[in-house]
Symmetry: C2
Subunit: 198 residues, 2 copies
Amino acid sequence: MTTRAQQYEATRRRIVDAAVGAFSELGFYGASTRAIAARAGANQGLITYHFRSKDELWKAAAEQIFSQLASALRPALDETGGAREQAREAIRRYVRFAAAHPELFRFMVEEGKGGDDRMQWLVDTHMKPLYLGFQQLQGEYLPDTDPALMPHVHYALAGAASLIFAVAPECIRLTGMDPTKRKAIDAHAEFVSRLFVP
Amino acid sequence: MTTRAQQYEATRRRIVDAAVGAFSELGFYGASTRAIAARAGANQGLITYHFRSKDELWKAAAEQIFSQLASALRPALDETGGAREQAREAIRRYVRFAAAHPELFRFMVEEGKGGDDRMQWLVDTHMKPLYLGFQQLQGEYLPDTDPALMPHVHYALAGAASLIFAVAPECIRLTGMDPTKRKAIDAHAEFVSRLFVP
DNA sequence: GTCTATAATTAGATAGAC
DNA sequence: GTCTATCTAATTATAGAC
């Protein structure tokens, strides 16, 4: 037996999932609420009912992606082995997440380029905590790094780890190699981890 | 004295410049032809006159960016010094271009994520030749690299070199560091070139 | 060549039936 | 809770005056 509360949650979740996909593929303006509703197998009016506006729906979508990233990275702290191998494993984990969730990087670029409200909300609410955790990890694993280089390392790593998966269709057409295949993901994880922790 | 042909070219150029900025900041759907025209100090009707459609205007904008990249990278072949230092200089050059033209990376991500017509045109017309050149450079400078790793190196380098500049507003708010400053650009160029050519 | 006016379509948001 | 119908505004593209 399904209660109304269960139905509410199920529908809401379907819409958020559809929104994540649509925003990630088409961008904020390209993804219409009608298309998102259709993708979720629901009606457009339901979006207004569950979320107040398109902006609020976008926030819910961003929230889902970043909470998934946070829980995917958490186990990296519990790794065993030497500091360098721990750092490598954390990077491999990040690469695998980027492969499984290319939406993260697309959201980051889509919003990070403009200085609007959505970007500020995204940084303050979800990216700041993650960046602090990254700084802490780097201080632990690679204590000999110049602190002024921190932003450079962070963005170089994020870009190196994620771009190939974010533009997978382009990569296939350009190189003939499909980066979504298991072997390609492993190869990329190994390459990037060795690149940043030789 | 300004001829009509000169006026034609001047107006067309102003519109293309405005389009590059608008598409780069807002994406294809977010940038309206009206906003582009206003940005160019022209009328919306002129866009239809100079370009047939919004798609054609987008192509003209992409064309401008990639032709600039091609001419910026060309001198990399004439560098002197050992193979490793040549490779480093080519990377530094690429980083500086990414800093001066963050539009390139934004176009790449914006279009590369979907499999639509614009992506296919972009890859076939402008990215394929550049990628072949990149493969050639890599074969010359770093002949010991596994060919199967080529796509991984290419996308890792593109991401590491460009992301920080493409999301400059986000970087400032997240880290407090402004990547558009001269010093930050040099630091990033040096960091990335040493990263890929230790 | 450049502009104004407008047609046709689509967007996000609302109101109300069920 | 979900859906249909509709409102208002903004979109691309067109037609025609100057």
